[in-house]
């Protein structure tokens, strides 16, 4: 492959995972894994005011290479959670780069580092200097990574999926930061991503890669307006967007076929009974708080409680697909754990309607709770962590049946095969281990496992946010089809409104443990009433050059702080709030004082 990146410009390397984007970056930095070698070609790099060097010719261990790495060229990685050493303070890790490349006194090092942290958007850089990575949120860690990469003012920054692991709102902030620092420090950026929305907002040039080869390259203007290669066209149609017509499907690059017949038997019966009946799930005034671990034995200060879920009431109808949106830390996952019965609420009730018989989930215990768990299935975000690496797919799928004593070994095996067919995987996967599966395949196994007991309710906690766009389209289509064919109720949790929009009938927006807006997806998307919903919508990067992100809106306003919302939405933390109906079934939370006026 070949491409050229000019000083001060941004070039985007686009492609699915496994297309060779990261290997390209590693080759440029000379940090290829030991089993990889550059077999031919040149990597010509011209630092400002210096001679051009061919990095491909330099030994990765040579002095010149060490001098380039981190000094002339630096990199930021995808996973801010694990890319910083947990044992060293932020300041130590950042100033290490200057210590290696510049000959300056220690006090100067610290000063420069703190300046850099400030530039990277830390409100309290001195404090951040002494902080450890695990004390920071994902967004702040990524800012620290950026500060570390830029401390020596490199002429080239490689950003390897810098925002994939982050919330959309934080993503917008980080992109803005990279862009503004780029113009301030006059450096070139090599942006590696699979997200065309990010590309549209960042790149001047783009290179589309597939299986280690360049499919198409040119200015992003040309490629966005008139994509030529079918691969690029395919990528475009795989991204969910808001202008989709009702019934329009995403087109993944590779469609998956699945077979749901063995599971369909009771679907119509349920549909009939369901629609008129009680809500499937009825949540009333649910509260859950976490208490910070107490500090001492003697000094019993008032405990600091973080309210993860506050006074949440919600009805979900049978067969409905309910989307729950919000940033990380807004209480979505706590809510899903409450619904599963994995944790007990502090107050409030959850009533579950299992085809007519009502269960109060807070009173279920022991054997009754175990038996009840058949009704609810769960799919988690991280397909790598959700499957036991030491179990074969067969055992993973059989486990729920064994726990609930369903059938014998032969019928369980048959059922596992059916389950795989249900998610479009062939039965030869049964004897394989999760590590030999791709991320999308793993997530499908995860879905199959959640469906093993034929639950009536499936909770999907960010099921696609760890996946590439095209794989994401596959899984979303699969989920959508399964819901229609099996008549399951979905609770779909995500931070990406566009994804939720594709799956959900109704959407609830959560912020700081409260639901702030609930309505049909049309209502939420066409007339978002709440400022927080509007901010979430504004943060989504569109793969469209004419609709770039309004960085100002996201970076300058405190969109997630209830005290900063304009009237009538703004309220102090302890102030009471209530629902205001603005249209049929469209509710918005406003401060209580305003209601009287």
């Amino acid at each position: 492959m070949s491409f050229t990146l000019w000083p001060g410009q941004t070039l985007a390397l686009v492609g699915e995972s496994g297309s060779g984007k990261t290997v390209t970056a590693q080759a440029i930095l000379g940090i290829l894994p030991t089993n990889a070698r550059i077999t031919g070609g040149q990597i010509l790099f011209t630092p400002p005011n210096r001679q051009t060097v061919d990095i491909a010719q330099l030994s990765p261990k040579s002095r010149d290479m060490h001098d380039i790495r981190g000094n002339q060229i630096s990199i930021i990685f995808q996973e801010p959670m694990v890319s910083l050493s947990p044992m060293h303070s932020i300041g130590n890790q950042i100033s290490e780069a200057i210590r290696l490349h510049r000959d300056i006194p220690k006090s100067e090092e610290k000063k420069l580092t703190i300046e850099m942290l400030e530039l990277a958007g830390f409100a309290h850089p001195e404090q951040a200097f002494n902080a450890y990575p695990f004390e920071l949120s994902g967004g702040l860690r990524q800012r620290a990574m950026i500060a570390m990469a830029l401390i020596c003012h490199p002429s080239l920054l490689i950003a390897d999926e810098p925002t994939t692991a982050l919330d959309v709102t934080v993503q917008a902030q980080i992109l803005h930061l990279i862009k503004s620092l780029q113009s301030k420090l006059e450096m070139a950026v090599l942006l590696i991503t699979h997200d065309l929305g990010v590309v549209a907002n960042m790149a001047d040039e783009m290179v589309v890669m597939y299986h280690g080869e360049v499919m198409e390259s040119g200015s992003s203007q040309a490629l966005f307006r008139t994509p030529q290669h079918p691969y690029l066209k395919g990528l475009f149609s795989a991204v969910p967007h808001f202008d989709m017509k009702p019934g329009e499907r995403l087109k993944p690059l590779r469609e998956i076929k699945h077979e749901s017949k063995p599971f369909r038997h009771d679907a119509p019966a349920r549909e009939k009974a369901a629609v008129s009946a009680e809500p499937h799930l009825s949540i009333r005034n649910l509260c859950k708080g976490y208490t910070a671990r107490k500090q001492s034995w003697f000094n019993r200060e008032p405990k600091q409680t973080t309210k993860a879920v506050q006074d949440l009431s919600l009805d979900i109808a049978v067969g409905e697909s309910f989307g729950l949106v919000g940033e990380s830390g807004c209480g979505k996952t706590t809510l899903s754990k409450l619904l599963m019965g994995a944790i007990k609420p502090d107050s409030g009730s959850i009533t579950y309607n299992a085809r007519g018989s009502q269960f109060d989930m807070s009173t279920l215990q022991g054997e009754a709770l175990r038996a009840f768990r058949r009704h609810i299935g769960m799919v988690f975000q991280d397909p790598h962590g959700a499957l036991n690496p030491r179990m074969t797919i067969l055992n993973i799928l059989r486990e729920p049946m064994i726990i609930h004593n369903l059938g014998n070994e032969a019928t369980q095996r048959k059922r596992a095969e059916d389950l795989l067919a249900l998610v479009g995987l062939s039965s030869r996967f049964l004897n394989r281990y999760p590590h030999s599966l791709s991320g999308g395949q793993r997530q499908r196994v995860s879905i199959a496992r959640a469906l093993a007991l034929e639950p009536e309710l499936l909770i999907l906690d960010e099921p696609v946010s760890a996946l590439d766009v095209s794989v994401q389209a596959q899984v979303l289509n699969l989920l959508k089809d399964l819901q229609q064919e099996l008549g399951i109720t979905y609770i779909f949790i995500s931070h990406n409104i566009a994804v939720v929009d594709y799956i959900a009938d109704r959407i609830g927006v959560m912020c700081r443990g409260r639901l702030v807006e609930v309505g049909h997806r049309e209502q939420i998307l066409r007339q978002p009433a709440h400022p927080y919903t509007q901010a979430l919508m504004a943060a989504i990067p569109y793969p469209d050059l004419d609709r770039t992100l309004d960085f100002k809106l996201i970076t300058e306003s405190n969109y997630s702080d209830p005290a900063c919302w304009p009237a009538p939405f703004g309220h102090a933390l302890d102030q009471h709030t209530q629902w205001k109906q603005i249209a049929d079934a469209h509710l918005v939370r406003v401060a209580e004082a305003e209601m009287g006026a």
Binding site: L29, I31, K61, H66, D67, I68, R69, G70, N71, S74, I75, F77, E79, V82, S83, L84, S85, P86, M87, H88, S89, Q93, E96, A97, L100, H101, Y132, F134, E135, M145, M148, A292, R293, Q295, S296, W297
Partner: protein, 331 residues
């Protein structure tokens, strides 16, 4: 941090009290007491024993008192350094143990240092050169060390030292210093003899540590933060020491707590074979002859070492790993 250490020190007190009670129960568990086994031994040799004399002895040592009173006497005695009376040696326990305790500590410390000095470079080498000839060779050696029983190694070394070099390596010092006062020459003589027991006792520990260090380092070497540091331009050796090694030290520090007692107790059979004047052989014979105060004091000593070891390793862990120190908020 100071608060944490203070709290941990306070917690040691109830821990030690409970341990001392359990120890006392255990050494009282076998039926009979020292005097009974003593009488039995005399009778088997055909001597007659005056029951009145035995009863008098029993009263003198408080062996006829109820269990709890015996325990209290022993436990409070320990607080002012009176560890009781050894029946077998006819001396206070402190006099029997005396120097041996000191020598035990020396042998153990040197063993620990030996283990570290050997294990660390080898562990780092085998981890960074995984599946190379060096790795395989050192791994083979390590397994040999792990699989050979310590006392066997001791016997082998005794034999070869005697046959090839013509020296006697039993004991910890030349015979003329055995009962001599402490002096420079005595110390030098000890150091000359020390290396054999240190190698013998340390071998299996070293082998085990090499394996664990290698496994831990291999886990860390491919973590993204290591790549980050490489991308920063950190030279390889410095990178290895600063990042992965530092992180993989946790297991090792956590191990210090169990290391002290295991080295001391593991060394006992070796000490018998090499006839070292350490505490191990005494403990074994004390347990055999129901010399309860002597045995009890030893076990107490081991328990104290364990408790101190765990405390030291916990404090070191907190110093080393900010996650342990700061999780749940800054202090």
């Amino acid at each position: 941090m100071a608060y944490y250490i203070g709290r941990r020190l306070l917690l040691m007190i109830p821990t030690l009290i409970v341990i001392s009670f359990i120890i006392f129960v255990i050494i009282q568990l076998p039926p009979g007491d020292y005097l009974e086994s003593y009488v039995a031994e005399l009778e088997s040799q055909g001597e007659s024993v005056d029951p009145a004399q035995i009863a008098a002895l029993r009263h003198q040592y408080g062996l006829d008192e109820p269990f709890l009173i015996q325990y209290t006497t022993w436990a409070t005695g320990m607080l002012h350094g009176d560890f009781g009376y050894s029946f077998e040696y006819g001396l206070p326990v402190t006099d029997v143990v005396g120097d041996r305790l000191f020598l035990t500590v020396i042998v153990s410390l040197f063993t620990i240092v030996f283990t570290w000095l050997i294990a660390f470079p080898i562990g780092m080498y085998t981890a960074t050169h995984q599946y190379s000839w060096g790795d395989y060779g050192l791994t083979l050696l390590g397994f040999l060390g792990l699989a050979t029983p310590n006392f066997l190694l001791a016997l082998v070394m005794l034999y070869f030292a005697n046959v090839t070099f013509g020296i006697s390596i039993g004991g910890l010092m030349d015979p003329e210093y055995l009962d001599a006062q402490w002096s420079w020459d005595k110390l030098m003589s000890i150091l000359q003899h020390l290396w054999i027991p240190v190698i013998v006792i340390g071998t299996s520990g070293t082998a085990a540590m090499i394996r664990r260090l290698r496994a831990n380092l291999l886990d860390e070497l491919h973590k993204p933060y290591v790549v980050t540091a490489r991308a920063k331009g950190v030279p390889p050796f410095r990178l290895l020491v600063k990042y992965p090694l530092r992180v993989s030290l946790n297991f090792f520090v956590a191990d210090v707590g169990s290391m002290l007692p295991s080295i001391i107790s593991g060394a006992e059979i070796v000490a018998v074979v090499l006839s070292l004047p350490t505490t191990g052989p005494i403990l074994i014979s004390a347990l055999q002859s129901q010399d309860m105060y002597l045995a009890g004091s030893f076990l107490m000593f081991l328990a104290l070492l364990t408790v101190i070891g765990v405390l030291v390793s916990d404090i070191a862990l907190a110093l080393l790993d900010p996650r342990i120190r700061l999780e749940g908020g800054r202090m």
